[in-house]
Amino acid sequence: MGRTSTSALLPSLLLICFAGGAHAFDLGQELKKAMEQGTQQQAEPGRPSSSAGGGIDLGGVRGLFGFSEEEEIAIGRQAAGNLLGAAPLVKDATLQKYVNNVGRWVANQSERPDLRWHFGVIDSNDINAFAAPGGYIFVTKGLYRLLRTESELAGVLAHEIGHVVERHHLKILQQSQWLDLSGKLLSGAAGENQVIKNLIGNGAEIFARSLDKNAEYEADRMAMVLAARAGYDAFGLPAVLQDIGHAAADDSSVRLLFKTHPHPDDRLAHLGDVVGDRFDGLKGQTLEKRLYRIKP
C-alpha cells in the first residue's frame, strides 16, 4: 500500500481534469479536494481490490481519481456503442432478455447492485466477452454457443461484472491516455463528449487492449464467488475455461481472447491455487434445462 502516493497521483490529474471538463474549474482546489478524498478512501477496509496488484491502487479509483458514476456510464456507453458498431446484437429478443435476467441477478450479488446493468449477445462467431465501464457487458454468439448450463453463462457474465465492479478498464484508460487528455482539457479545446471520445480512442479499440493479468485473475476469483452467491454452481466459469483451453491460440475465433487474457490453463491453475476446499459443501444449481438455446 505504501506505493500509492506517487503512482496514483499522476493519473489522478487526468481524472480531475476529466471530471471538471464540462465546467470551469480550479486545478489547485480540485487537486487538494481529491487528495483529501483519496486519503479517506484508502483507509476504507474490506474491499477485494485492495490486494489487486498492478500499478495503481484500485481502492483509490473512486475517491482519488474522482470519476463520478455518471461519467463512468457515459464512457461505457460510448464504448458499448462502438463495439455494437462492429458487431450488432443477435436479433433474438428472448435471448437478450434472458441474458439480462441472468446477468442482473448475478450483479445483484455484487458491490454495485444499483448500477443500471446491461447485458447482450452480439453477432460474432468469435469466442469472447466484453465489459465496458458503467455496466455494459456483451458476450459473443460464438461463446454463448459453447455454454451448456445457465451456471456457465452466470460464470462468464460474473467475470465481466467483476471488471466493472473493480473499474479495471478505467484504470487502463488512466494509464494510457491521461497525459494527452489533460493537455487538451487544460487548453479548453474539448467538450465533454469529445473528451470521452479521446479517452476511449478509435472505435472499440478499448476492447482489444489487455488488462493487467492480475485484473483478469481477480475477475476470475470474483466470478466464482458471485455465481455462488447467486445460488449457482460456482464452477461454471472454470467449465467454460476448460472448453476454450483446448482451442489453438492461432484459431481465429479465440485469437483476441488469447491475446488479451492469460491462457485458460493458467487461469484454471490460478483458481486451483486459491479455491482449494472453499466451495466444498456449497452446492449450487446448474439449471442446464433453463439455458436458452440460440436458434441455429
Binding site: P48, A86, R104, R221, G231, Q242
Partner: protein, 170 residues
C-alpha cells in the same frame, strides 16, 4: 404441432449429450493432486496424480471430475485437471514440458490481420451505433425483476466471502 416442436429440442439435447461425452474423454493433470474415492474433501484418498498425467474424464460433479488414469481411478478436483490433449500449437513433447512449468504457449500468440470475427482491426474501425445501444438498453432487467427470475429457477442467494489472493492463500 407440439411433437414437431419437440424434435429439434430433443435432437439438440442428444447432440449436446454426445458432444459432452466426447469433449470430456481426455484430460491432463495441471498439478499434483489426490484421487478420492468420492467427490468430497473428506473422502478416502485412493491415489494421486502428478503434473502432466493423462487421465480419462468419466463424469463431472460440482467441482470434481471422476477420472481414470494409469495411477488408478477416483475423483479429483476439477481445477487440477484440464480437458483435452496437450495444448495445440505446441509440439506434443514441448506441450507437456510447458504444462509442467505452467507456461506453455503463453506470450507466443501473434496477432495478424485480415481474420474473420472481431479482430483488433475491426474493433478499431468500428463506428458508433446509437440505435443498437438503445436496443441493448431496452432489454435491461431491474433489480426486482431479477429477483423474480431467480425465484422461478429456485436460485437462493447466500453469503460467500471473496477468495484470497494467491499470496495471502499460502
Amino acid at each position: 404441432m407440439r411433437t414437431l416442436r419437440k424434435v429439434p429440442a430433443l435432437l439438440g439435447a442428444l447432440l449436446l449429450a454426445i458432444g459432452t461425452a466426447l469433449a470430456a474423454q481426455e484430460g491432463i493433470a495441471l498439478k499434483a493432486d489426490a484421487l478420492k474415492a468420492e467427490p468430497f474433501r473428506d473422502a478416502k484418498t485412493v491415489g494421486s496424480l502428478a503434473t502432466g498425467d493423462r487421465v480419462e474424464i468419466l463424469k463431472k460433479q460440482g467441482g470434481w471430475f471422476q477420472v481414470k488414469s494409469a495411477r488408478g481411478s477416483g475423483w479429483v478436483r476439477m481445477l487440477s485437471v484440464r480437458r483435452g490433449e496437450a495444448r495445440k500449437g505446441d509440439g506434443d513433447a514441448t506441450g507437456l514440458l510447458g504444462l509442467a512449468s505452467g507456461r506453455a504457449g503463453t506470450g507466443r500468440v501473434v496477432a495478424t490481420t485480415g481474420i474473420r470475427g472481431l479482430s483488433e482491426e475491426q474493433l478499431k474501425e468500428a463506428k458508433y451505433n446509437e440505435s443498437e445501444v438503445q436496443k441493448a438498453e431496452s432489454y435491461t432487467t431491474t433489480r426486482a425483476e431479477a429477483r423474480q427470475f431467480a425465484a422461478s429457477g429456485k436460485l437462493v442467494s447466500r453469503k460467500v466471502d471473496y477468495l484470497p489472493t494467491p499470496e495471502s492463500a499460502k
